[in-house]
């Protein structure tokens, strides 16, 4: 046990030493990892924002409005309502009369509500059913059933918008993943080259270690730690830069009243934890894989 601990301590010590001795090239590794992670951050923010947008839109648009003809009979109404209730995925069905619709408009228009005055006697708004769905996917079936029923004037629902949005979000996600994958590969290459320099400089030492019976783990350990440290520093650097950079961007966009964007953009605080976890995981991952790759050749003594 104590022997293991001594070996472990040696490995850690050598890892830190290696990082310090190699600090010149380390700057290159750290900045390449940081650069990758920062681009990754931008992609990530984009993806998260779009996810948020999709979720929000889905929540908002999971209803169907069925506008009724003015001359609809009570029998037709009952038939329509029964048909709707018989369908799958219905959360609630609400009957909204002309008058209620007008009231709602008035509330929404608030100060401009005077424009609507006088409409009570000859209300142009139709009676309607507002259907809440469990999911927008159920909309199509319901719509198909009711569309040509007597008394139905028009149906409003947002399936197409949602579909387009989902498609768009998927493209962004796939594109983002491809870009991320390529960048990760590039930085593994860069860091493995950096570590290769340390490994080459210590080739003799490694050879001697092998002959005296050092285990592979003991030989690899310091280099992996060196790589992980580079990755960790790169990750911390890019977390700070992305978080504050994005925070600044978010704030200035908000201040300038491009409120349309702030609706879409995700809040900086909401991503800090995810960002940190992802960056640290990828940064240290790149570091350790990079160093393992660079060592492969040297270990077959």
């Amino acid at each position: 046990m104590t022997m293991r601990f001594r070996l472990f301590k040696n490995v850690i010590k050598q890892g830190f030493q290696g990082m310090w001795r190699n600090r010149g090239m380390g700057v290159a590794s750290v900045s390449s990892i940081s650069a990758v992670l920062m681009i990754l951050g931008v992609v990530l923010i984009l993806i998260l924002s779009i996810n948020e947008l999709v979720l929000e839109t889905q929540g908002k648009f999971d209803e169907i409005e069925i506008f009724l003809q003015d001359e609809v009979t009570d029998e037709q109404l009952t038939l329509i309502e029964d048909t709707i209730r018989g369908e799958e995925g219905i959360l609630s069905v609400l009957y909204k009369s002309k008058d209620q619709a007008l009231e709602e408009y008035k509330e929404q228009w608030a100060e401009q509500a005077y424009l609507l005055e006088g409409l009570e006697s000859d209300n142009p708004l139709p009676n309607s059913y507002i259907i809440q769905l469990k999911d927008i996917d159920f909309a199509e079936n319901v719509v198909k059933k009711i569309k040509y029923m007597d008394g139905v004037e028009k149906i409003n629902y947002h399936k197409e918008i949602i579909d387009k949005l989902l498609l768009f979000a998927n493209y962004i996600r796939i594109g983002g993943l491809v870009v991320m994958g390529a960048l990760v590969a590039v930085s593994i290459f860069i860091i493995s080259n950096t570590i290769k320099l340390t490994v080459a400089a210590r080739k003799r030492e490694i050879q001697i270690m092998k002959y005296v019976g050092a285990t592979n783990g003991y030989i690899k350990g310091p280099f992996v730690i060196e790589g992980v440290l580079f990755g960790l520093i790169g990750a911390l650097l890019s977390i700070v830069l992305v978080y504050y950079g994005y925070g600044y961007f978010f704030k200035s966009v908000g201040d300038n009243l491009y409120s349309m964007f702030t609706i879409i953009l995700i809040e900086p605080k909401a991503i800090l934890l995810d960002l940190s976890i992802i960056f640290i995981a990828i940064g240290t991952g790149i570091g350790s894989i990079g160093s393992l790759v660079s060592m492969k050749r040297f270990l077959n003594v």
Binding site: M3, E205, Q207, I208, Y211, G213, A214, N216
Partner: protein
Amino acid sequence: MIKFVNVSKEYPNGVEALSNINLEIKKGEFVFLVGASGAGKSTLIKLLLKEEEATTGSIYLNDIDITRVRNRRIPRIRRNIGVVFQDFRLLHNKTVYENIAFAMEIIGTRPKEIRRRVPMVLSMVDLSRKASHFPDQLSGGEHQRVAIARAIVNNPPVLIADEPTGNLDPDTAWEIMKVLSDINAGGTTILMATHAKDIVNMMKKRVIVIEDGKMIRDDEKGGYDHEIQTI
């Protein structure tokens, strides 16, 4: 201690470096491994160190068939063997003391034990006064003595020396042979590959001659054969 049974080694490029080697070295023996360059001496040593795998046959070290040992266990095998090379292979950024201590550190020896053992080994190779010197401040013979000290510091039962005197002048070479003899007298089995004719002739130890991958001679207290000399 060491036993080769029907060992052959063919390299991937088709060269047969060793063919059907059978030999046994007992504990405490001092054995010269003699032969021209490319005869197969280095391959034999590499097989013992598990740097290369035998194509066929078995190699026993302490009754363990090392040809069947898995890669993960190789370091354990190597801890039974000290190695000395022609080119010394010291670390130039470490002092003599540190070079030797290094071999103990990497297998996790207690610091107290290292502080006790290193000076002991240094005095065995007569380098106590140079403990804090760096390799660049030492002569060739001193280099090799440091390398020997490093090879035996972990008390391996076997010491392999691959042309240990190859880079040294005759006087210094004898100095090294004296150190190796002393170590052998302490019970360590020694296998030394060499070209040095007069050393082999003078030492009167067991000589194994390899030629074209075959063992052609195995003499107790032999000499460097005339036949080999002309090659």
